[in-house]
Symmetry: C2
Subunit: 348 residues, 2 copies
DNA sequence: TTGTAAGCGTTATCAA
DNA sequence: TTGATAACGCTTACAA
């Protein structure tokens, strides 16, 4: 906004210049045919020269429509999310909306604050990747009847729309594949424990082990931040015998996210172990560049762009038609076999 | 926002319930000591129970402060930008601001629209990575005296603050290194031609060649979108002899962005050439995961988080102190030697 | 201690 | 064809 000394151009200031009332200016700028063509053009010319831009806030206040859509994610930097909001942003732009973006950093308090602020700002709808199920923030969203679409997760309340990939199935796909390759001791690097996707992923992992008669050991399930550093610290603990799991207790690693998998790659460099020689590794998301890693990362693909498109279209439909109809869209994960996981038999 | 049938909680509606005037409510909610403690608590309790959230837009309209900061970038999805706005977002959050984010997609028209919308929305400042120097959008920014910080580029007008990495130097670093390795025919994959960073990068490349007595050939400088696909199409053209450059005319590739470099990796897979066997490759940005590529990508590091921090602090200082002081912060690039570029001598 | 009124920049209704 | 007026929700003198 301008410095205090430069005053804003408004319909009023234009009215003064044009020697008409401000409501005449308003009409002229809206091409109201009631206004004399000459005055209209004269006014529009003045507005143009002054670089007049309507104050959307004032307009919003008046007609109770802001054209703001809020987007609340857990890590703006994550390539996983960025593909999603790229897709969302494109649609928003085309349909004349503006995106308010904020980052909850996997923190329930911050999420609450973000939601609250956005409601205050009059967002017409929110796309959120929730920190956990049933947080205060989510309760607020429900009580205030804010149009909401969950992504990356299904809400426990059916009164909310959502678009998500079936994480249970994703973990099943990966675990099944590892078992086929002969792995029975699989370390699960599962991100933040409260994260809904983490819980589902764990379920898919555990179910599949059980189906194959393999015991699920809690000590094989690790919760750490989704970051390269966080992952390295976990592996460091294992290699320094500070963990209940020893370095030779497992043969494969399943990661909740490709970023975590990349953390394992970093660890491999640091500790000098080989992938998939020492450990087979499978990631999740299929983010940019995983195909070109050394070795190419075997991972489970999430349709990220699709997620974004579905989510924003669902939301905008609700917003524009003022519907209270809810839909749950479940997308399918897909195993992408590359070279970071290999058969145990051949290695022995 | 709520459905049409659910009406919003306002100080007025609370006033009705509490049987006081709406200004009493306003004061009570602001802990005005003038209000009787009992009434104050009673009012606050009603507000709490009703989940009252102030309408920030109305407040903004009144006191001409929105606490909105706009961020306009060229590709939301790019890992390069996402590290930057992660940093910006963190600061914004802490200081009570909200980020409006939009994507110009390297399109001058879109940029203009984005700027214009944001001004309409009353942003108090803008961080922009401009599509080109001297666009209409930038002119608008100047005329309206919007507090602005350029990133990834230096404005031709000194009246704008900026934070950027010296792209000329970055290209020099990379080119110098390639020349040291014995390369003299270096293909430059330089992104969109109008992009300011592209022009600087080219300059650094050309200057360095000349300093070493190597002729700068226009046909070696290619302009393509910054994407894997766009890069592949360029290499395809070369391999299909549809280009003025033949596949054996050069020994190294310098890319304006790691994303482009990754495109070359994809091409290598498709056409079966080896990196650095056939071509040495150097990228720019040092985005996530480039360290683990096969081969690890030699690239030039940009301090992205730092860029974000400097930019937002610079901007917020201007905004909050209403200063018209401008600063240009130049950050230094750094060559990161890994394994995608190698000496020519040894290959022969 | 509480209430009244004006104003922020719009839009829309009604009167002139 | 143009102008006056009220309203959106909030803050803040000022009056009671």
């Amino acid at each position: 906004m301008n410095s205090k000394n430069t005053k804003r151009i408004t319909i009023k200031s234009i009215a003064q210049q044009a020697n008409v009332s401000f409501s005449t200016v308003a009409k002229a700028l809206h091409d109201d045919p009631a206004i004399n063509e000459k005055t209209r053009e004269r006014i529009k010319e003045i507005a143009r020269r002054a670089n007049y831009k309507p104050n959307i806030l004032a307009k919003s206040l008046r007609d109770n429509k802001t054209k703001f859509i809020g987007m609340i994610l857990n890590d703006l930097q994550s390539p996983f999310y960025s593909e999603i909001y790229k897709a969302v942003g494109d649609v928003l732009n085309k349909r004349g909306y503006t995106m308010l973006l904020s980052d909850s950093s996997y923190d329930e308090m911050l999420e609450m604050k973000n939601i609250s602020t956005m409601i205050s700002q009059g967002v017409e709808g929110i796309i959120i990747s929730p920190v956990c199920k049933d947080s205060d923030g989510i309760r607020l969203l429900l009580e205030d009847q804010v149009k909401t679409v969950f992504i990356d997760n299904h809400p426990s309340d059916p009164n909310i729309s959502c678009v998500y990939v079936d994480h249970v199935e994703a973990a099943r796909l990966a675990t099944e594949y590892l078992i086929q390759l002969g792995h029975r001791k699989i370390l699960l690097l599962n991100g933040p424990e409260k994260l809904p996707s983490s819980q589902d992923f764990r379920k898919g992992y555990a179910n599949t082990l059980q189906e194959h008669g393999i015991e699920v050991q809690e000590r094989f399930i690790k919760y750490n931040p989704i970051s390269i550093d966080g992952t390295c610290r976990q592996i460091d603990d294992i290699f320094a015998d500070r963990d209940s799991v020893g370095r030779d207790d497992f043969t494969a690693i399943l990661a909740l996210s490709d970023v975590i998998a990349i953390g394992v790659y970093e660890s491999a460099l640091q500790h000098g172990f080989s992938i998939p020689g020492k450990y087979s590794v499978i990631g999740y998301d299929n983010i940019l560049a995983t195909k070109y890693l050394n070795p190419p990362l075997t991972t489970v693909q999430q349709p990220k762009e699709q997620t974004g498109h579905y989510a924003i279209n669902l939301l905008l439909d609700q917003v524009e038609k003022d519907l209270d109809e809810h839909r749950q869209i479940i997308l399918n994960p897909e195993l992408i076999v590359r070279a970071s996981a290999k058969s145990l038999d051949k290695t022995k």
